[in-house]
Structure formats: C-alpha cells, structure tokens
Amino acid sequence: MAARSGSFGGWVGMGLVALLLAVFLAGPLLVVLTQGLSPVVLHAALANPVYREGLANAFLVATVTTALALVIAVPLAWLSSRYRFRGQRLLEAVLLAPLVLPPFVGALGIYQLLGEYGIVNSLLAHLGGRLPGPDWMGNHRFAIVCAVEALGLYPILYLLTVAAFRRLDASLIEAAQASGASWTQVAWRIVLPLARPALFSGGVLVFVWSFTELGTPLMLGYTRITPVQVWMGLNELAANRVPYALVVVMLLSATAIYLLGRWLFAGRYDAQIDRSSHGAEQVLRGGAALAAAAPYVLVAGLAVLPHLVVLLVGLTKDWYGTVLPRGWTWMHVQEALSHPQVVPGILNSLRYSLAATALALAIGTFIAWVGVRWRPWGWRALDAAAMVPLAVPGIIFAFGYLGLGVAIGHGLDPTKNPAPLLIIAYSIRRLPQVVRAVAAGLAQTPVVLEEAAAVAGASRARSLARITFPLIGASLAAAALLTFSASMLEVSDSMVLAMVRSSWPITRVIFDLLNALGSGPAIACAFAGWAMLFLICCLAGAAVLLGRRLTSLFRS
C-alpha cells in the first residue's frame, strides 16, 4: 500500500473528522455517563424492585436469545461450510433477510400469528383443537420475545461462524474421523473449540443487542424490561434521572461483556487454524440435497413469516379465527398512503436518510481512504472509532444524543427541531458499514493507477474524481443504498429523538398508527409493507451493484 504523505488538506480533514467523532461519538456516551453515574440516581434505580426485575428480564432475554441464536446459526453454518447443493445460494441469501427486515415490523405480524384467534390457533383448530386456543401472548410473552429476537439476530452468528468453519483445517477433521471419532466427537472436540472465537464474538454481539433491544419488546407489549422502561421514562427526564441510570447500567454491562469476551478468547485459537487450506465442500444431490435444504427453509421461513404476515394483513379485509385471510382489499394501502401522517413521515424519512447517507459517505469515505491509502499517525484510532457504533446499542446512543442535543441547544435541541440530530445519529450509526464497504473497494483498486495519475501531473482532487471514485463507484453506491435503507426504518433514534410530531420519521408514524383505534393496525401493516418493499428495492440495488460482496458488509 502506498503511503503518500498527507497534505495540509488531509490533516485538516483528519482534524475535522476526529472532532466530529469526538462530539457525536464520544459525546453521547459521556452525557449518558455524567447524567446517570451518580450514586443517588443509581441507587434510586436499583432499589426499585420493578427496575431490578426489568434488568433481570433484560439479562434473561439476552441469555435465552443468544442460546437460541447459537442453536439456529451453528448447524446452518456447518451445512453452508461443508456442503453444496442446488439453490443453496438463494437460501443463504434469504437466511440473511433478518439483517435488513426490521424486527419492529415483524412484531406486528406476531399478534396475527399468535393471537387467541390467530393463525396458529386457527391451524390447531383445523387439526382438531378448538377456538380460542392457547393464549400464547398472555402466557408465553417472554418466550415469544426471545424467539423473535433470536430469529432476527442469528444471521450475525451465522456469518461469523460460516467464516470460521471455512477456515478450519479439513485435515484435522479427516484425521479425527480416520482415528474413529464419531460425528458428535468431531463437533465437540474439534470443530466447536476451534470456532470458539467466532462463536464468542458473535455471541457477545447478539447478547448485547438483545440485552438492549427496544423495538421488539415494546411492540410485543413486554414492558417489564430495561430498554422499554427507559423509553417510557423519557417524558419525565427533567424530574427523574432514573432512565439515565438504567442506560448507564446497560452501557456498563455491555462493556463488561465485551471485555470479558476479549479477555477470555482474544486470539487464543488462531494458531491452530490453517488459513491456507479450506475444508472440501461435499456436493449433495437428490434426497440428501433436499434434507440439507430443509433446515434453511425452516429457519428462513420462520424468520420471514411475521413480515410476510404483515404484508398480508395490510391487504386483508378480515383475518380472525381463520388460517388464511378472509377477503382482500386495497383499502388499507390506499388509506395508509393517503394518510395525512404518512406522506410527511415518508418525506421526513427520505430527507433524513438522504442527508444521513451523504454525511456518512463523506466521513466514511475519508476514514476509509485514510486507512487504506494514507495511514498517517493515528489512523488506527480513527478506524477503530468508526467501528464503535457496531458495539454500542442503539438506545444508549439515542439517549446520549438526546442529552447532548438538549445540552448543546441551538439547532440541535430535539425538543425544538429533531432533524439535525436525527441525521447525525443515523449517519454515525451506519458509519462502520460505509467505512468497510469503501475500504474494501479501495483495497481492490490498484494504487498504481493513482500513482500514474500523480506522475502525469494530476492533482489529488483530480485523481480522486477521475480515477479513484469511478473505480470504487459500485462500493460507494452500495454503501449509500445500505445506509439509506437502514436509516429509512431505523428504530431507536427515531423513537427517542423525534420529539416533534411534524418531524416524525416512518417508524414513529407506524408506532402511532398502531395505537389508533379501529383500522389503525391494518393501516400500520399496509404502511410497513410499503416500507419493506422499498427496503427490498434498495437492497436489490445494492446487491446488483456489489454482487457477492454484499454480505461482507455485515461482517464486523
């Protein structure tokens, strides 16, 4: 990699980006800490049995979710890394759908699926049961929250584990099998121990994300859990700082879990992994291929089912006590898209997402360029800082931004105009993906072309504009589309920061519609269906532009 000395402009850029990250990355975390890290407030939070129970539930949800996600992801990862069969690529892509489908929207479908007169009970009634069937939501809400979260988060573990399994030295497994080890012995004694770093880092991510997930428990009415309690405390922040204390507890817990993971597993098993040799992939046909495809179909089906149900509810006249909808209608779609709340919501989201995309691209491209092409003093710190949003849960950041905005005031006070803060929050959240995508693009572009341009007398700006950007155009476009689509349906920041009604983005409007009497939920589903179709278009665009590199953007 060429280390071209940085110009004055480069250093100015470094300074600006560093300042921006200090204010909008470290700032929110500092605000949360200063507001909540007081013994009195922490005591008030932890002495209350209801908040203690909320924390205990958050830990339990995270534990069960992580365990479930492991159970789902590891066998699939093993199949993907060892076997090939027709249609597998498509199934693998569908398996990653939860990465982009908001669990927030899926939760809408859960009520239809698991209600007393919902789809599952109607199916059971067909099979000889009776309606109303079991009260799933009433008696098993905890389990449902865990299952929905696990079905939303397993792809992170799956991606990391597939990569780890593919790196395994096949000769180790062959040797074990030759020595008479059974399939389970190979799995427990060789494969899983060697893949442990990947399992652990993925597990930690899933644990922390589910520990702090707001959308799913909120939508499923599971309110005795810290993130929801924090959200409900928003309106009384001036008089009661307990929510900040709860956020601090979440932040400290997340940090502790990361540190524990690092300390336990950092680099311990790398020595045993042979990076050069890949395990041979076995090609399956006929019945074996069908058997191998079944778990993919099952998991992907379960993960996508709630979203599918949401799409259908938006088109349904009545769906009560039957497996399939009774009658179809465009009414909800029409009502949703002509709704006085909806168009401003879409326009707001478009505005915020476009601005956030531009901002994230500008900052992210610069950081990627610094890391790949320039590498001055401090580039590693900059690169690491850009990855922080991957690890810090949305609700913690959102809360920090709220405090920061109120403290800075002027144009950033979200109680007056949430737009600037929302744009910044959206863009900072997506920074890791942008940096990774652009860095990958830059790394694959031969630097000699830029050097040749420089030798021929082109200025750096000219060589960037005429050579570098056109060459990494696909990466830039894909990063832009991903940032844009994720911002369009972002939950945490939207719920916390959009404090003025006229500035509500799509997710906040959906939440409000859901609470409306009568047709509210159907309109919410129709609108959510529209939003998902839009999202799918964005991602299809990104996939066409990036090809198979798309999934690499989700790897951290």
Binding site: E116, Y117, P132, M137, N235, Y320, P340, L513, P521
Partner: protein, 535 residues
Amino acid sequence: MRSLILIGGAMAGLLAAPLALRPAGAEHPGAQTIVIVSPHDLQTRIEFNTAFVRYAHEELHQDVAVDWRTPGGTGEIQRYLATQFHQAFRRAHPDLLQEGWERFDDAGLDKPGAQAPPGAKAARAAFLAADAPDAVSSGVDLWWGGGVLPQARAADQGYLVDAGLVRAEPTWFTPSCIPQTLSGETVYDPKGRYYGAAFSVFGIGTSLDRVHALGLPVPAQWQDLGEGAWCGTLGIVDPTRSAAAASAFERLIQQQMLEAVEALPAAPAPTASATAAALARGWQDAFTLIRRIGANARDISDGASLSVREVAHGDAAATMCIDFQARAEAEYAQTMSGQERLVFQAPVGGTSVSADPIALLRGAPHRALAVAFLRFVLSHEGQRLWNDRPGIPGGPEHFALRRLPVRRDCYTAEERARMTDPDTDPFALAAHFTYHAAWTGPYYDLMANLVRATVLDPRDELVAAWRAILAAGGPARVPQAYAAFATPIVPYGDAPAAKAGLAGGTATRLALLRAWTLRAQAAYRSARQLADEGR
C-alpha cells in the same frame, strides 16, 4: 444494467404512490401553527385538524396548521408538561432559583398560612404573575383530553389559564346548552381554565366469542370482573399511564363507597362517624375488587385503546374502557367482517358521565389562535364532528368518531338523525349515578399509584395468590388467605397522609411506592401460603 433500471423504476413507483395519493391542500406554506398536546386518537386528531384548518381559512381568513404532540397517555402528558414548565422556569427566572424554587407549581402554597421557604413563595408568585410566551411557557398552546381531574389539578398548579370563553359566550354556558356539572361531575371550570369538549362513559368492553367460549354472561357490573371464572382472560390498563383507566377505577371505587353508605340503616340518620366508617369500608372493598380484577388479567396494557383492541381480536375476554374506544373497535370489526364481536356495557349505577376537557396553557405561544381552536371545538359546528356520520356535510370527512357532544342542542331529534349513536343519551344515563367529588377527587393520583404499586407491580405474586385461593375452592373456603390477599395497604383514613407523601418530591415518592409494593408482595406471598395450607 437492466436489473438496475428495473429496481430504480420500482423504487420510483413506490415513492410516487403516496405522493400521488396525498390529500390535496393538506398544507399551506407559511401557515401559523398551534401546538396541542393530546392523548386523543389519530382519527379525532385528523378530523378536528381538517375541520379547523378549513374553518380558520374560511372564517378567520388565516392559514393555520396544528402541531400535535402526543407523548402518550394522560400520565405522560402530565409529566411532559411538568418537565416543560420546570425547564422554562429555570430559563426564565435564573435569579429566583433559591431553595424551594421547584415548588413554583405547588398549589398548596396558595393556601393562607402555608409553610414554605421564601424561595418557594417568590417562585410561585413570579410563576402566577405572568402569562406570556416570553415568561414561563411550556411551548404548548392547548392541552386537550384526559379527564377533568388531571386538568383541574393542573389548573390549580397554575399550568392552565382562563381562556375567557365563559364570558365571551354566555349563551353556551347555561344548563340548557353546556351545564356546569352533570351527575356530580364538573363539565367546565367556572373560572374558565378548562372546558368539557365531549362526554365519556366508562364501562366494560367484552368479546362475544370469548364469553361464549367461557360460558359466561356478558359482564354488566364492575363486580362481575372480579369473579374467578375470568382468571387469566381480562385486559387491564395501567392507570398511571391512562386517564381512562384511572377514571374507570375511580368510578368503581365510588360505586363501592356509595353502596357501603347506602347499606347504612336509613333511620335514624347515620352519624358522621358511621358514614366515615362506611366510606372506609367501601374504599377497602373497592381495592380488594381491583386486586381480584388485576389477578384475573392476562396482561397489562399502557393504553385503554390497546386493551380494547385485544378484546376486539378476542385475545382478552373483557376490559375496562371508555365507550367510544369500544364503539370504534366494534364498528371496525362489524364493517370489515359483518360480525358483531365486541359489545360495550356501561355498568348502571357504576358509572358517571364525565367530560373530556380542553384547556389553554400558561404562556401559550399562539394564544389568539389557540382560543379560536378552543371556541371552534365547543361551537355547534365543532361538536357535530363527534357523532355525525362521516361524509355528511358539516360532519367528519372520513371517520365516525362515535363520541358524545357536550352541548344539549346537539341531541335534538333533527340532530340525532345524523348521528352514529342516535340512541345514546348522556344526560339520561347521568341520572343513575352521582359522582361525589369530595370522596375520591383529591386522591386521583393516589388511587392510580396505589393500583400500580399494589396490583400491577407485584402482579406475579398477586396472580399466584389468587390462583392458589381459587384452587383451594375460593375465598370462602380459605378465609385467612383471602384476608391476607385483601390486606389494606393504604386505608381510607391514611389517604391524606399518603397523598402528601406522593407529592413530597421524587425521592420520597419513589420510596413510598417501593414500600407499598414490598408490603403488597409480602401480603400476597402470605395469602398464597395460607391458601396452599387450606386456611
């Protein structure tokens, strides 16, 4: 490239659809905006928004827009406004932030001889002295919806100010149009600080399919919901988050107190102490009934509308709610499926007719326009939006709001012909119940918090105790267990002290609530054990 064009086309189509379907003339650039904080549902907001924008354009020759703030239920709105006023006071009076300034909104300071640090009194005087956007302002113009008691409290705190309508429209505020009280409840504040804008009736929404499946009759009285047969099937709403729930619980408590008083021998006339004892008994019976209802619940909702929806979907068998919420869900189910799934029953003798008020806030940034909105809501034209069938000229455009106007002149035969609920007469229903504001009015906050701290927060223990009692054959078979289940946490005689404790600052308040929860938990654990032992 072809696939990219296809995808781009699809995206453009998706974006074009809502823009094409967008209602025309929804926004006027440069319109003056009023800010309204409200727990009202979307349909209500939409219809009044549309009608007022048109009215302002035609009658006031002004382009206006409404910025609706909806932080949640009434509990949230109260907290939101308190926060806004505290921040505003801090900004407006940096020189007055002496010890006790936080009590600038403490109505207790207005009583002659009230003890308080000088800082508190100076802050209170400064707060009440000014009503201008650049003095202490919440940034909100109007507070609409959520019940009379929360607004009466806010009025006493000084958050609300006289909008001047009682003087400006003397013909409206007469017994033949808008009475000052109905069934003992205030309809509008004689000082003009809040005005009932619609009537609400509290009652029970029931899923017909669920009651048939359970083999139970449709519950007609609050007591019915406390029967063990409903265990695990009811919806219940957190009264600290929903004024509808708080008011419904209050009606339930009032009914129990009234029955206890009526049970006293009529002659000789009961002494004051006998009446007081009866009231205390009624209060206690009411809280025991609320515990039984809470123990029968399948889950806790944050809003009454969510709970009603659970009933409409058959997920919950019944819930306490407001008439219009149940009617809206029932109408939707009927329209879409042709089936009657949900019925609303007002417990005769157990519910009053209450006004849902609207009020002008101190320091309203757009005062003149806000008063115009208030006047429009109370005008005959505005009142017609509540119950006229949608699509009729002068009625709502899209949605049947199915709420009850406060003006008597909206209930003539001619008017009824246009209504979605022509047979409902709040003035007749009000005759069956008299609300005794003095009994529970001062304890509105206390009741809601008591329900939350002793029924909702320790729900696991409560449900376990109740199930153990039912498993043992019911309260009569295990009297000791039932007595433990019904352990008073705050008896009626202690209510004034408990009320003062709740108002004594965040730390005291949280400590008090925690103590109640812990005591309730202990009582329920003991009840469960006694029931398991068959005692």
